[in-house]
């Protein structure tokens, strides 16, 4: 049991230290691949890091102290959710804490009382409403396939959980587009040049706080790709490692492809499609698991 604890702490430390760099590189590759898809040269791979360093050096000016505090809480809770996941602990707790983190971001946006930020916050609430059912169904599916919410139990499994949860995986990929803020579901705030509502949730957030949001986004990207990899873990370490890396690359490339090929939808469509997908794919998968 002691070895387990040491391993958990080691993985948590590795996550906290490495995830921002990995997330930044992924984000840089994302922008480069996006540029190539649009026939451009595109920025350097390290561009997201330059952006954040610049933001950290800006003059500090905030709308109110509460906003900075909530943005900081957003970062802290994203990191805590990541620690819980990557140290192999409770998946359900990780899901609930990441939702709590996004609630702090929403409160930060509301605290400014700016019309653009408020509209962004309302849309962010809608996004939470859209992806949450599917993510919770995924947690239920994990429990039924794995027998527990703990991630480290997956390493003892005979088969990866993708075998039991293929439909839930497809549904999860669908809502992942909302989670990583990609078109067609980037209605509350988007990256790159395609903007709407000025900058949505982050309209009133600038300088250092905006840098914190970017850093939390890097942590989030790594965490969500970890959720993708979770579906391919089983008792054979080598094969599952290859499957995990391959699945993460394929899924993220798919996200970039979707981002570049779809226009932003209205919130009504987002709500409709994400709930239909959650009920259909998630529900059918859970029912089949119950019968078997």
């Amino acid at each position: 049991m002691d070895i387990m604890l040491i391993l958990c702490i080691a993985f948590a430390i590795v996550f906290v230290l490495l995830a921002p760099f990995v997330g930044a590189i992924i984000s840089g590759i994302d922008r480069k691949v996006t540029a190539k898809m649009q026939g451009r040269v595109g920025p350097k791979i390290l561009q997201p890091i330059y952006d954040v360093l610049k933001l950290l050096g800006k003059e500090s000016a905030t709308v109110n102290p509460a906003q900075d505090f909530f943005v900081l809480l957003y970062l802290i809770f994203v990191v805590i959710a990541g620690i819980i996941f990557f140290s192999g602990l409770d998946f359900l707790l990780c899901v609930l804490i990441i939702t709590l983190a996004s609630l702090f971001l929403i409160i930060a946006a509301y605290s400014s009382r700016s019309p653009f930020a408020e509209l962004g916050a309302q849309r962010e609430i809608l996004q939470v409403m859209c992806y949450e059912p599917m993510i919770l169904i995924m947690a239920v599916g994990l429990f039924m396939a794995n027998g527990a919410f703990n991630i480290y139990d997956l390493f003892n499994a005979q088969l990866p959980i993708i075998v039991y949860l293929p439909l839930i995986f497809i549904g999860f990929i669908f809502v992942l587009t909302i989670k990583v803020r990609k078109s067609p579901f980037d209605i509350s705030m988007s990256h790159h040049a395609h903007q709407e509502l000025v900058r949505g949730v982050t309209t009133e957030i600038s300088g250092r706080s905006l840098a914190y949001i970017e850093i939390s986004h890097w942590y989030e990207t790594v965490l969500f790709l970890g959720w993708v990899a979770m579906f391919f873990i089983f008792c054979n370490p080598l094969v599952s490692a290859i499957l995990c890396v391959a699945s993460v690359i394929v899924v993220y490339f798919l996200e970039i492809l979707i981002d570049n090929n779809f226009a932003r939808v209205k919130w009504q469509s987002m709500l409709k499609y994400s709930w239909i997908v959650a009920l259909l794919f998630g529900g059918v998968n859970i029912l089949v698991l119950m019968v078997l």
Partner: protein, 156 residues
Amino acid sequence: MSGTKKSPWIIHYDGSSCNGCDIEVLAALTPLYDAERFGVINTGNPKHADIFVVTGAINEQNKNVVKQIYDQMLEPKIVVACGACACGGGVYRECYNVSGGVDQVIPVDAYVSGCAIKPESLFDAIVAGVEILEQKRQALKKSNKAKPNISTKDKA
């Protein structure tokens, strides 16, 4: 290390003009010229921007708008006046409602000549502008260190 020189985010405002320079600025952001290879992002939000790109002359109507956008931007920041109208009023200089170039309202750091400007000359201005931006950042850093605590000073 600082990313100031490598990540100039711009905000673009068009005053009163024929919109020629306006279209050229947008052309600079398209895949053909690809401003993002210099790290340029068109933000549309003064709070996120480092470079204020103004096209067109300043008139009595948009004076306050330009001033407000400038005031909302955080230091370090620079202003680039694009085209003959933004530099000094251009062909609209003698109009009854035109006050002249952008420098009538806010301090300008780089002037781009041409009617209309070329995207290439806008890039030249931005590349020259980031040097000024870096100098301003270092000056800001120094003054921040030198200042003890403004709020307590003000109260006294």
